[in-house]
Structures are given as structure tokens and as C-alpha cells.
Amino acid sequence: MLEFSQQIVNGLSLGAIYALIALGYTMVYGIIKLINFAHGDVMMVGAYVGFFSITMLGTNIVVAMLAAMLLCALLGVLIEKVAYRPLRNSTRIAALITAIGVSLFLEYITVVVLGPAQRVFPQSAFPIKAYNLAGLTILNKQIFVFVSAVLLMLILQYIIKRTKTGKAMRAVSLDMEAAVLMGISVDKTISVTFAIGSALAAAAGVMIGVYYQTINPLMGIIPGLKAFVAAVLGGIGLIPGAMVGGFVMGLLETMVSGYGSSLYRDAVAFGVLIIILLIRPTGLFGKNTGEKV
């Protein structure tokens, strides 16, 4: 039982990170129906911004995270403007290939400029404390990751539900043409979506830095893929879906490693995805809307 509770704690921290990355995927997908494969790499850039902010400017972790979020928000807007906007009216698969191109570009420009070797997040930025709750080990970094992830999700939820920008995002996502007719600036709304999604990814990147301590130029590929799976699991395009999907994915992986074999962890995660898609083809939370003829 103790081991099980410990695994829950492990799974929740991992899930929080997946959920944050998945949110960006899902927001972008919801609004322009693009699988933004470069999203994981934006997270990587965020991690590097956080790293340099701490090591070179000597800022604390909160400032580093805000700096990473700000810069990556700009990067996200830039990527959308340069690479995706020209393709908005062409096929979605063309945009997908561009996304793969952007992803490779971000990875390898970082390799060229900063070198492929991993960097180590300084421990002084976040001294680790362990708390012992009746045999259960909980680390302050786990609490940090979980709490800040939940906090960011609440802020996001507020922006989307209560602000004008959020309303515009929902409108564009529902029907782009009708939104234009209603006087909503689609370009601006899409930019904002990219900014918010990328900022969340950057936050996740800094969290990964704190949590796992090392960052490298290719660190975005696997968490990016996993987060994408999480987004689909919850129903892509749906914000609560991405959150739940992220946590499900984190817990699932932890349980497979803990009680099955860690070697089959990825296979099981993908297997569950396929089963869920087959039973509920639009993910856990997706509405099954029949095709309009």
C-alpha cells in the first residue's frame, strides 16, 4: 500500500509536466487544427532560457520561469507568423511537414549554437528537501511541479472562460469564418493562442530542468510525443481533456514501470491510447460529432 501511494506521488508529478505540455498542443490544435510537432522543442528552448537566466543572470527560479515563459511566448508567435501563417489555407499535411521542419530547426540550431551535450541545472537554484509522511517520501520539487502546474492550469482556465481574449479563442476554434464575420481578428487570436501555449511549454521546460536537473537540445522529442499522446487521449482540442490526459499518461507510465516491466512502458502507453481511440474515437472527453454532409 505504501509502495502504491509512493507510485501515485511519482505519477502525479510526471503527469503534471505532461499535462502542461499537452495543453499547448491541444490549444493550437483546437484553433488551427495543426499538430504542432515543434511544441516539444519550444519547451526545450524554455528550459534553456531558464537555465541561462539562473546561471548567467543569477535570478531565482520564479523569475527564470517567467523569463522563459515570456521569451517562448514571443518565439511561439514568431514561429506561427513565419512558418504556419503562410500555410493556413493549404492542406493540413503541408503545415504538418512545416512543423516537423521547425522542430528539426529548433533542435539542431541549439545543437550548433550551444553544443549537443547536456547542461546541468544548478542545485542551488532549488535546494531539495524531502518530507517523510508516514513512510511516504515527498520532495519539495514534486510539490513545486504539481502546485505550479495546477496554478497555471487554473489561470489558463480563467483566461479562456472569463476574458474577452478567451471568448475570441473559443469562437475562432468553433468556427473561424463566423468569427471573422463577428469582427474577431483571427490573426491576433491565433497569435495569442500560440503565445499562451508556448508559455505553458516553457514553464514545463523549466520544471523539467528543476525536476530532472539536466537539459539537452533533444530533450523535447520524447516528452513532446508523450504529451501529444496525452492530448489525444483526453480528446484533442479540449482543454480539460489535455489536463486529464496528461495525468492519466503520467500515472499509467509510472504504474507500468512499478508493477509491470519498465521495458514495455512505452508500448503499454501507446497500446492504451489505441484502445481508447478504438472505443471512443475522439478521446476520453471528445464529443462524437457525426460528419456533416
Binding site: Q6, Q7, N10, I128, P217, S257, S261
Partner: protein, 395 residues
Amino acid sequence: MIIKRNKMLALLLAMMLMMSIVAGCGGQAEEEQPAADTATIPVGINVELSGAVASYGSNARDGAVLAIEEINAAGGVLGQQLEALERDCKSTADEALSVSAALAGENIVAQIGPLTSGNVAGSTPIMMENKIPLIAPAATAANVTVDEKTGETREYIFRVCFIDPFQGTLMAQFAADNLQAKTAAIYADTSSDYGKGLAEYFKETFTEKGGTIVAEEGFVSGDRDFNATLTKIRGTNPDFIYVPGYYQEVAPLIKQARELGITAPMGGGDGWDSPDMVSVAGGDALNSTYFTNHYSSQDTDPKVVAFVEAFKSKYNKEPDAFAALGYDCVQLLVQAIKDANSAEPVKITEALASITDFEGVTGKMTIDEQHNPVKAGVIIEFKDGVQTVNTRIQP
């Protein structure tokens, strides 16, 4: 309609033109190089600069390039300068083959790399066909230099690193004899033949010595979260945990293990050798961890000290094991060129096969019949973040 077709054709032609330019670049360079510089000895550096193991490849490249620069600054070999031809094999075996073929076309006298056993295997056929020696910095699988089917040594393939059986066996003996471990858990990097190989030989020796393996788990390259499996291992309460893998994964793994309250001693192989071990895991977590290695970067041997200093001043970072091995590959090659008194690939190969007592940064080595280096091993212990030599084992 016709105009449209013509436009398409024009596009096609433009593409073909572009292709031939791209392809032509390769052809031109081949012809130019020997003409422009007859006095250089071209050495191919075929390593992973992109893809999954880019960081190993570029570290080995850094080591090799440093060695080449030092040698050139000291007047070169046989009065000629070495010329490094750096190529990226994208961490795939097919690209390694393609790169080797291109390098062979540029008349290299030897190739350094690739890093992983699989990619070396990929480039092997070309090296054998062209009779050009390949020196692998870090390919540890037994079948890299020996054809398992025929039992014959591959004539043109050499390496400067340990092979898997040696390190696995060594650590098992150390755990059973010195640490008095009765039970052990294995948590290996199963995505590499290196991790799997070490684990296999550790298990074999440890059980021969009467120990029990209580858990066998694996992680894959790129993993950063080990909590789940470690929690499981914690439940089996082993005396010793063997973690053969590379430092990128091992350092956070050890840290997470200690955070979960696992205090058992842990051990691994030369993949642990990196300054990042201490900066990631921290000195406390690393106490009572041990690894088998060729040498210690803290060694006071003047050769090691000079290498570490030169590397730091050139690249502004500490060398890891890959960098040291890449450096030794070049030094070994230079030794062979001197011994052969020729830069002919076939003569270099002969000289390589009979190298004895070569003093490298990673230890004194003699190339044996199977083209493996026979060199001393050390067991290094971390004491408050400092690598200290615990035991030396002469071959």
C-alpha cells in the same frame, strides 16, 4: 495546357540541376583536396553529431580534434600534417556506411568512430572492402572486432575501449568480494548493447559467486524519471544495485534513488565517467557508488593532467570518457603511423595489430589478437563528489 506542362518540366529540370550541384559538390571536393594539399594525411572522423547519441559523438570528436591539433602543432607525423575530415552519421548505421564510403573516396588513411557498436557495425563492410583501418572509441560489444559466425578477427577493425565481459565481471567480483553483497538488483540501460552486455556478465559472475539477483529492470536512453522502478527496487531491499548505463541517465537515477531513501551501494561501468555525475547527483548521493574505468580524470599522471588541461582550455568544459577515448584513438593511430613509418592504410593496420604498451590517456594498452586493448582497469569510488581510486586491477 502545354505551357503548364512546360513549366512543370522546367521545375523538374531545375530540381535535377540543383541535385547535380549538390552531388557535384562532393565530386569536386574529392578531386581538389589531394591536388591542393599533397602533404596532409587525411583522417576520417565519422561520428554521431545529430540524432539520439549526438552528445557522445561530439565529445569523442572534440577529443580527436584536440589530439590532431596537438600533433600538427608538434610538427605532424612523418613530416606531414594530419587533416581531420569530420562527418555526421546521424546516429544511424546506414548513414555510417554511406559516410564511410564517401570518406574512403577521399583517400582517408584511417577512420575514427562511430561511437556505438551498432553504427560501427554499419560502417564495417566498407572499411573491410577498402582495406582501411577503423578505430572505434567506445564500441564495446564483443562482436565489433570479431565475426561471431566464423570466430575470425575483423582485420581492419580496432578499438581502444574495454569490452563488455571485462567490466561486468570486474564489478561483480568487487561487489561480492569487497562489498560482501549477497543480493543485487540490476537496473540497466536496455536500449544499448553496452548496458545489456555489462548486465549480462555481471549477472553471470555474481550468481557464480553465490549471490542472488533480486530484481532485473531496465531503462532506455533519454529516460529522466526512474522513481517508479526505483520504488519497486526499494521493495526488494538489495545489498547492491548494478546500474550499467551512461551518465546522462545514471546521474539523475542515483539522485532519485537516494531521494527515495535507497542507501545500498551502487555500481556501474565507464559510461559513468563524466563531471556531470557530481553536478547532477551531488556529492552526498554519490557516496558509496563505484564504477569500473580505464583511468581517472583526477589522476595525477602527467599525461592525464596535460590532456584535461588542454581540453578545458580549448573547449571550456571538462572532458568525459568519450572525449578521452576519442583522443586516444588519434594518438594510437599516430603511434601506428610512426611504427609503420608509412601512412598507407594497410601498413597502418599491420602496425596497429602489433602495438604494445601504448601509453594513452585512458591507460597503457596492448592490442591483442582480437584487436581489443588489454589495459588495466580501476574501480573508482566517489567520496563526497571526488573520484578516488579504490582498487587497481592489472590485466
